[in-house]
Amino acid sequence: MEQKITGAEAFWRSLLEEQVKVVFGYPGGQIMPVYDHYWNYQAQIRHVLVRHEQGAIHAAQGYARASGIPGMVLVTSGPGATNVVTGVADAMIDSTPVVVVAGQVPCQLLGKDAFQEIDLIGMATPITKWSYQIRRAEDVAWAVSRAFYIARTGRPGPVVLDFTKDAQAGLVDYAPKPCHFIRSYVPDPQVSESQLDEAARMIDEARKPFVVYGQGILLSGAEKELAAFLEKGAIPAGSTLLGLGALDSGNPHLKGMLGMHGNLAPNVMTQHCDLLVAVGMRFDDRVTGKLDTYARQARIIHIDIDPSEIGKLVPVDLGIVGDARKVLAGLTERIAPRTTREWQMEPILCDAVEKHKVIEPEIQPGTGEINPGEVVACVAEAVKGEALIVTDVGQNQMLAARYSRFVRPHSFISSGGLGTMGFGLPAAIGAKIAAPERTVVVFLGDGGLQMTFQEMGTIMQEGTDVKIVLLNNNWLGNVRMWQQLFFQERYSCTRMLNPEFTGIAQAYGIPSLHVETREELPSAIRQMFAQEGPFLLDVHVREESMVFPMIPPGSSVDEIMLNNEDWFNYGD
């Protein structure tokens, strides 16, 4: 019989069982037994010491989204745990598989306001897929494997384990307890054949069907099935922000990105189709605009693995619960092959207007200050769709989404549902660690970069090769834009006095360049990519830049501003 081991050691053994390769973490009092045992596991598992626990969780999210493998976070109790809460909420709304393990005070001190005690389970419950307090060493193996199983299966999401110090210290006869089944939990619901038949009939009958898809395609690995479905049915499609990369940007069926700052065509087509097929997306209000007018003319089919998404926001004619890959394969089998649909002018006209009124002025202004979109386009030109693009939140995010190109899945990582500033830099670290063979570029604003700038230290220590592109406008740009458009140009508290970012990069030993003029830009970008290792490119962009097109909040998705003066009017 094997010797008994501590709960802390059982924890590392359990992580090995789950094939965990990387842990993002930060130590502290109530997790010290676990950190102590790491000493013996350094060769098998890499620990990345971040500079702030928020950095750990966003890095784990970036890791998970680049690889599809759950990201792992290890922190201490109290402030260590509260510091990860933002990222846990972010992972919940963006369906990202992460497992967070936090230290907790010993059981006999629970509920007694002990030093660094917080009710983590109470805090985490509404923002996790599952959370559990480990109070005995015997439960470690069970809880860890169950955590990973829940995080990665079905609609993925974050799991929090609250690991009491006595469970870490307690002794156990360790044996792995793999989890492949929980009787109350159905991660892969059986797809109804009769619903597939009915959906296929609706698609065959439709004159102008339109597909809107989201991250569900990437999460289920349904990229090929989606492309085959669109091809066989000759159906055009639009992607949500988080769905980007699921189809090649050059796919002829792809009409662009949906939503507030999306392309004209997919938003207009939403209002002109006679059948809307939504796959792996959840009708976020940034996508639907005003719900009362959203696709009211169309019949609607909603396909999602999460039954509670069906009918939550948009009343549907048919809801199919199931894995996107299986449902799309089943539909492709059933639908009649088509070469054309009755779509005619909508996409062509929309694209022409958008090119002339929005895209060209943004990315080829010719003279004047550098536009932020121009920087994205310039980088896109250099990487030819091969890079993994990470963004922060704000104008930088929308422009990175609009002007990047993607030729393969898992190439776009951004905080969608929560819109967490500070996500970008640590997420890029995690993404690069998950996909070392890929070029990772992160676009950020000067506001968001400074929310987690301390992770430059992690980059330095780990030597993580991320290309940091700062679209520096000395404003909280996105908020400034809203103040200009909707708050009578009252620029309350959005001007930023910034440091010299290249000086900070230098202090961390990270090479950098500051760019002021259009002429310097291409060579600076070339230099950034030519050089191995991390790089900061600080581009001074037009301070009062805007992101267009824009569907103002509360408007229908075909009420679209093209610039400060013009609105789009389909049919004019």
Binding site: I121, S131, P315
Partner: protein, 107 residues
């Protein structure tokens, strides 16, 4: 606006600490008032039963019930307009558990 009615929500769950607040949170975030709440062992050994009476619009209740069922440790959840309930659920739950057991044996 859809009219509000009294609904009786039933949930069969594993006996797990924290489920009560997890389920209550689904009501709190919508400002739904819980008019009556009962938690007790069901007729199936080891399985707990929640009865929740609340006033809301039916469309909202549909999502609420699905979000309750979405919790990992919730086995099944149903709703009915108060006082019109049928007695089929317990058979449903038994059948569900039997199917799951067969499934787990096949893994």
């Amino acid at each position: 606006m859809e009219t509000e009615k009294l609904f009786e929500i039933t949930a069969y769950t594993e006996n797990q600490v924290g489920l009560l607040s997890a389920i209550a949170g689904i009501f709190t975030r919508r400002s739904l008032n819980i008019e009556k709440l009962l938690v007790y062992p069901s007729q199936i050994a080891g399985i707990h039963k929640f009865k929740i009476i609340t006033r809301a619009a039916e469309a909202q209740i549909q999502t609420v019930v699905l979000q309750i069922e979405k919790k990992v440790d919730v086995i099944k959840s149903y709703y009915e307009v108060d006082n019109e309930r049928s007695c089929r659920e317990i058979d449903d739950v038994r059948q569900f558990l039997q199917e799951r057991e067969t499934e787990s044996n096949n893994i």
